[in-house]
């Protein structure tokens, strides 16, 4: 530490830092820039392989409902059983599969959020102490991520559609929570409640809660973009990507925000407050009243 501090004062230190920074930028740039030439050919082959993997995953997990060619299926009366996936895009696949809604288990009024099936479970535990176990888990996770990416690519290859947002597009730190709050209250809170605690819809459907940490910014973005199930679509020309990022910023900041006044009572408004007032408030006071008016303890009297 001391030596480092001493170096910082040398005349050449400034140049060294600038050089190092430039080198780093170059390296990062190289990492992100598409590779040319030989690499490209290898990339195409790899992409073919990935697409094939995606197709196999589709056939195994999705085709039974959505059809061999993702054209959707209908029941005997012509009522759609499962929608066509042509043109739904990678964002929709990513949302449905990463939130565990698809593959669906038993169709009800609405597909609930659940743990994704193991092949796509990108959130498995990897922080094992045992290095062997950890390695296996990390490998599994990497495979799940690849599976998900391949499936997305496969569906996208069938008919295009909205792509998965970049990390930058969903970064809550870059959004304006004030603008997001206004947009959220105008367009989202009617179903999801003012902080995203969720709410009821018709016919047993519901707007799911958005206030838990499993709901990732990417999923929020994808939901707005693709309008899963009963949710309306907010495409990028209606609510721009910046607007979406603002909404994500609002939601993430709100759920990370502590409740300054104590327990938030589920943040669902006056219903739980009234319940607490009756049960805790009046309950405690009635107990106090019973104690105050109870018969005096006998044993204290001189006998």
């Amino acid at each position: 530490m001391k030596r480092f501090t001493a170096w910082r004062r040398r005349p050449w230190a400034g140049y060294a830092v600038v050089l190092a920074a430039l080198a780093a930028i170059g390296a990062i740039y190289a990492g992100f820039t598409p590779q040319n030439g030989r690499a490209e050919a290898a990339g195409i082959a790899q992409a073919q392989e990935d697409l094939e993997n995606g197709r196999q995953l589709y056939n195994k997990n999705c085709a039974s409902c959505h059809g061999q060619n993702a054209e959707g299926t209908k029941d005997a009366n012509g009522k759609p059983l499962a929608p066509s996936l042509l043109g739904v895009g990678a964002a929709s696949v990513d949302f449905q599969v990463s939130t565990g809604r698809m593959p669906a288990m038993n169709p009800g009024a609405q597909m609930p959020r659940k743990r994704p099936i193991p092949e796509f479970d990108v959130n498995i535990k990897t922080d094992y102490h045992d290095p062997e176990q950890r390695e296996a888990a990390e490998k599994k996770k990497a495979q799940a991520e690849k599976n998900l990416a391949d499936l997305r690519a496969y569906i996208a290859s069938l008919g295009g559609g909205p792509a998965v947002p970049t990390a930058d597009q969903v970064d809550p730190d870059k959004g304006d929570a004030a603008v997001g709050g206004k947009l959220f209250r105008t367009n989202c809170a009617q179903c999801h409640n003012f902080v995203g605690s969720g709410g009821a819809l018709t016919g047993g459907k519901y707007a799911p809660p958005l206030d838990s940490d499993d709901v990732t910014p990417t999923q929020i973005y994808e939901a707005m973009l693709t309008g899963p199930q009963a949710m309306p679509v907010f495409n990028d020309t209606t609510l721009t990507p910046e607007n979406k990022r603002d909404i994500i910023a609002y939601l993430v900041k709100t759920r990370e925000e502590p409740n300054p006044g104590g327990n938030g009572l589920g943040r669902i408004g006056p219903v739980s407050e009234g319940l607490a007032g009756w049960l805790i408030g009046l309950g405690l006071l009635v107990l106090a009243a019973m104690w105050i008016t109870a018969k005096k303890p006998k044993k204290l009297k001189k006998s």
Binding site: A178, R185, T186, Q190, A200, T254, P260, V271, I280, I292
Partner: protein, 552 residues
């Protein structure tokens, strides 16, 4: 007290004398210092309301020191950074300022709101106690009526207070208020324009919030304070009712003296009320206006609910079918008018009329100071539980979306459930409650006649087993025998064919029918001095039936 009383300290005596010389106050003190107050936990429910009101006055005054009742639009730049740059009214901005910049401001806001919730809840509980024990009977009808007015004022006061911070939820409440006002025939739109000073929400000059503020901090609390004072003075003058027990009678009241025991008890309860509101405000958050956001006429949140005491209205509005009449160029919104007026009209109007109705039906014009056990007035208790069911169902209906969401029920099914239950529920509740009351009466009769089970099984020489019953303890006997048995109905016409007074005409007929309904299946509970020593194990049911036979 058993020691010789020491001389009063100079300071106390001096000030007492000072007052007495000028006011003659010692007479008052002497008369009232040892006033007897009967003890029962349910007698403290009203005190919760009283002390919450004191808390409301204190914390409310604190809040006015910073609150700006203004709809003037400002752009917020403050310490709640998530709303920086957002347009809002000054009222909302100042409520944020109280919460996040005034030390103890959030605590006071929360105490104020929790105390309001407790105030209304305690009034409701207190009224239920008074109703079910018949404590509203002569001579206490006036205090009962004052209580109903206080509850109504409390609702309005709460609604206005809820509206002041101008957050999204309170704005939604005002929007509904506007819609309900518009539905009033003939003068609705005028009422709307006059209340808001123009159109919702700002009117022409942003008058609404200043107006609500004045009503909320001055007029309504003033009236409440006056009525509370009257309520207390009447209570003091009439002396508190007492629960039936061996020591209480219509002629005498038995209890601990006001000074020092009751004074200390009520002082302790004052502290408890303060402590519990402070506790609630420390550990549970209420009305987080910063999360609701400023009012915006285009925005709405799922689960927009009023505070619990307005929930009945909300529920009634939700389950009402969409009836509307349009004729001769006018529209009558039954879908709004009926739920806005009828349920509360039934509950409040019914409650206000009840003491007089009961007096007319029973013909009981005496004063009552010892209250009645709920089982001994099955019709009253049944009607009370029916009313509670009615109110409670509407209340739940006001939260049907939260219920649907949390318990995974279809939303429209909850509406249909409440549409049916609102009629079936109270009727069912009445029947069940009345049966329970009568069952309890039967058991009381059996206890008096046969004593209580001792738990000792005796084998008779023939080998029969029976449980030995022992006479009930004197205290319990006194409580049970506090029941006033129904008297046989006076014949409608006397021997010479002259109709009895009060039975003439359709009203007289109605009265005598209702009277019969009131006392129809009364189970006489009497101490006829015989205490069975060895009774076979038998059901109270049979004993009761047997007894009815005997009494005929």
């Amino acid at each position: 007290m058993s020691q010789t009383a020491p001389a009063a300290p100079k300071a106390v005596e001096g000030s007492l004398n000072f007052l007495d010389d000028r006011l003659g106050s010692t007479n008052f003190f002497k008369r009232n210092a040892r006033k007897a107050f009967p003890d029962h936990w349910s007698f403290m429910l009203g005190e919760i309301a009283l002390y919450s009101f004191v808390i409301l006055l204190l914390t409310g005054t604190f809040l006015t020191l910073w609150f700006k009742p203004s709809m003037h639009e400002v752009i917020y730049e403050g310490s709640y950074t998530k709303l920086n740059g957002v347009k809002m009214s000054e009222a909302y901005a100042s409520a944020l300022h109280i919460s996040f910049d005034v030390r103890g401001g959030l605590l006071m806001r929360q105490i104020h709101h929790w105390a309001a919730v407790l105030f209304m809840a305690a009034i409701m509980a207190h009224m239920l106690r008074v109703f079910f024990t018949g404590a509203y009977r002569k001579p206490r009808e006036l205090n009962w009526l004052i209580g109903i007015v206080l509850f109504t004022l409390g609702m309005v006061e709460g609604l206005f207070g809820y509206s002041l911070p101008d957050d999204l939820l309170s704005g939604t409440g005002l929007r509904i208020t506007q819609g309900v006002l518009e539905a009033v025939p003939l003068v609705g739109t005028y009422g709307y324009m006059f209340l808001f000073g123009g159109e919702f929400p700002e009117g022409n000059h942003g008058d609404l919030i200043p107006r609500l503020f004045t009503l909320h901090v001055l007029l309504i609390p003033g009236v409440i304070l006056a009525l509370v004072t009257a309520h207390m003075m009447i209570m003091w003058h009439q002396k508190h009712t007492a629960m039936p027990s061996r020591n209480q009678s219509e002629k005498q009241v038995y209890g601990y003296p006001f000074y020092p025991v009751f004074m200390a008890k009520t002082g302790a309860f004052f502290m408890f009320t303060f402590g519990v509101t402070a506790l609630l405000s420390t550990v549970t958050q209420i009305n987080p206006i910063w999360l609701y956001g400023p009012y915006d006429p285009g925005a709405i949140s799922a689960g927009s609910q009023p505070d619990f005491y307005m929930g009945v209205l909300e529920g009634a509005l939700r389950i009402m079918p969409n009836w509307e009449i349009t004729a001769w160029g006018h529209t009558l919104s039954l879908n709004v008018l009926i739920p806005a007026t009828l349920p509360l009209g039934i509950v409040f109007g019914g409650a206000a009329a009840w003491p007089f109705l009961e007096r007319w039906v029973t013909g009981d014009n005496r004063s009552h100071h010892v209250v009645e056990r709920p089982r001994n007035a099955p019709v009253r208790t049944g009607v009370g539980v029916a009313a509670v069911t009615f109110y409670g169902l509407l209340w739940l209906a006001g939260a049907n979306d939260v219920l649907a969401d949390k318990f995974h029920v279809e939303l429209f099914k909850t509406t249909w459930f409440f549409r049916v239950a609102i009629f079936a529920g109270p009727i069912l509740a009445y029947i069940v409650t009345k049966r329970i009351c009568l069952g309890l009466q039967r058991r009381d009769a059996a206890v008096i006649d046969h004593g209580v089970e001792s738990g000792i099984i005796v084998m008779s020489p023939e080998g029969k087993f029976s449980e030995r019953h022992v006479p009930v303890r004197e205290e319990e006997k006194a409580v049970i025998l506090s029941k006033e048995n129904a008297k046989p109905e006076a014949p409608a016409v006397d021997g010479s064919g002259i109709p009895a007074p009060g039975t003439k005409g359709p009203m007289g007929f109605l009265r005598s029918r209702l009277n019969r309904g009131w006392t129809l299946d009364d189970i006489p509970v009497e101490d006829r001095g015989h205490h069975g020593e060895h009774h076979e194990v038998e059901e109270g049911e049979r004993a009761g039936a047997e007894q009815k036979e005997l009494s005929r």
